[in-house]
Symmetry: C2
Subunit: 327 residues, 2 copies
């Protein structure tokens, strides 16, 4: 039995709880929070919610800590600190900052002899590992990643910070014509605008200047100015009724040529269609906890990524069953 | 530089030659054949073609032998024998016989201290590894594998053995409606007939009884009787003009539920669209040769499968580049 601790308690942590429930070789040991533990209600019965200050007392009762904080400010500090006392897994997803995060976590985990996985999930995570497989197999080719249709929480938050906006749900949508060209093996050069469009459902305050809000969204640098963006104003009731979920997904596609003169076109696509982004991410984190325990038992320590996991270590199946039924 | 030897010289071996050419860290050292070496012309200049009896003299000059024999009779004998002297990779694809082949190869490789990979390719191979990832991540779900549209060489051969048949190309075609239901997350129970159809292009001898040939095909047990099969008679010229390639592909789809009460549907699809089945299989074999050398250097010996390979070992990229650009 693998005893899991959860640090932080939001959508991702609730997904981890649900995923643990689906895996008979795992148990939730405790949830740690920076909030007042008495105010945090979790799904699993008879599991304590504790203050983040109390982790040290659980060193012998938790095999892996799954860190469910945010990538902007929580995880860069939290993962190296907790890796001093525990094996850890995080879903750090600021792509540009991964090398620095890796170095910080590796230093802490290598010194304490723990194993630490960073950037586990689907992107980074399963999309990354599919980019790696595909590029190793088709060296003469080109990668494309399309996201959506799905809710971008970062973009939704950015719109919510505009004065007069009460709520927003931003959907990232891949451009079908661009995907068709990539799937057909054209290997096109595509601009940001040609790959994805953005669609914002916005609830505005009564009397707010909707034209000004729309202009502020469409011209926002980094987030929206490089995209064709549609803004639709809806009521709070419509928001609650139609946009409560956090669906997402996307495709990693690599198209390349093989043969003595590159005469054959080969295309690999990995596609996710997710009703719940945080629940799916949580499933990857939990499978990785299993791999972490197996690798640790073989003497592996320090910072690891999904690139370092032999797939067999993710699965509860025996080698015999894998060879007979899965290979 | 990884020095590769090839045993056997057919379509798959030619694909391996082409793949080695695309990987700057690899070189072809020699090709070994059971035929008269003087009759075998290979693509790569200045590489010897030798008799299969001469492998022993190459023990120090070849890092990995890629075995390109057939699964029916060649590989069950060949892989354990060659694993006594070399690290080996094969593409053994008789699914039901994999456990026995694994045991035989493992005994030979473990005793000699070599590393041996069996059943590398796309199915078994990349499809298998995607079934494994998906089942580990979505334990409450169901797997589907669809093949095609593509040429099945086994089925084409079976038709060629019917009296009066000069040539045949058999295409396996997934049923679009079945794939749509699976992609939509319905998790249907599908019979063999509901998943795939078969289409045979046949060249008959002059004066052959075409009705008898068609009947013999459609009622052939195991190969055709469980499928809706279409037979179309064409000329030898049409066969050469329209059916010279060996395209294939397919999809592995797993659809499962997550959430406390299974309220969210999550679907993972891995899809291959291949102009050349043997060239693509060869690319996987060659990437696996790189992983074999890295694992061997860390002391791994005995029989392995794609399940045992950490994806990082397949790639020529440095860890720094992977973290910065691929994760």
């Amino acid at each position: 039995m693998i005893n899991i601790g959860i640090v932080g308690y939001g959508n991702l942590a609730r997904g981890v709880e649900c995923a643990i429930r689906q895996n008979p070789d795992m148990a939730l040991a405790a949830v740690f929070t920076r909030r007042d533990p008495a105010t945090v209600k979790i799904l699993t019965p008879n599991v304590p919610v504790l203050s983040l200050d109390e982790t040290a007392a659980w060193k012998d009762r938790i095999d892996v800590m799954i860190l469910c904080g945010g990538s902007a400010t929580d995880l860069p500090k939290m993962t190296p600190v907790i890796a001093r006392d525990f094996n850890v897994i995080d879903s750090f997803d600021t792509h540009a900052a991964i090398p620095a995060h890796f170095a910080a976590v590796d230093a802490a985990a290598a010194e304490s002899g723990h194993i630490a996985f960073i950037s586990v999930g689907w992107d980074p995570g399963l999309f990354s590992v599919n980019r790696l497989y595909a590029s190793a197999i088709l060296p003469n080719g080109k990668d494309y990643t399309f996201w959506g249709k799905g809710v971008s929480q970062g973009h939704s938050d950015a719109v919510r910070r505009i004065p007069g906006v009460l709520d927003c749900r931003q959907y990232t949508i891949p451009v079908p014509e661009a995907m068709d060209r990539v799937r057909a093996g054209e290997n096109p050069e595509l601009t940001t605008r040609e790959k994805h469009t953005r669609y914002c459902y916005v609830v505005a305050e009564d009397g707010a200047d909707k034209a000004a809000i729309e202009h502020a969204i469409k011209t926002m640098p980094n987030y929206f100015s490089d995209y064709d963006t549609t803004v639709e104003f809806i009521t709070m009731e419509e928001m609650r009724r139609d946009h409560a979920g956090l669906p997402h997904g996307g495709s990693v596609i690599r198209s390349g040529v093989t043969g003595w003169n590159g005469e054959s076109r080969q295309t690999i696509e990995y596609k996710l269609t997710l009703d719940s982004n945080p629940q799916f991410t949580a499933c990857v984190l939990v499978a990785c906890a299993r791999a972490a325990m197996r690798m640790k038992a073989r003497g592996v320590a320090g910072c690891q990524t999904i690139f370092d996991v032999a797939p067999a270590d993710l699965s509860p199946m025996s080698r015999e069953d894998m060879l007979a039924h899965m290979l």
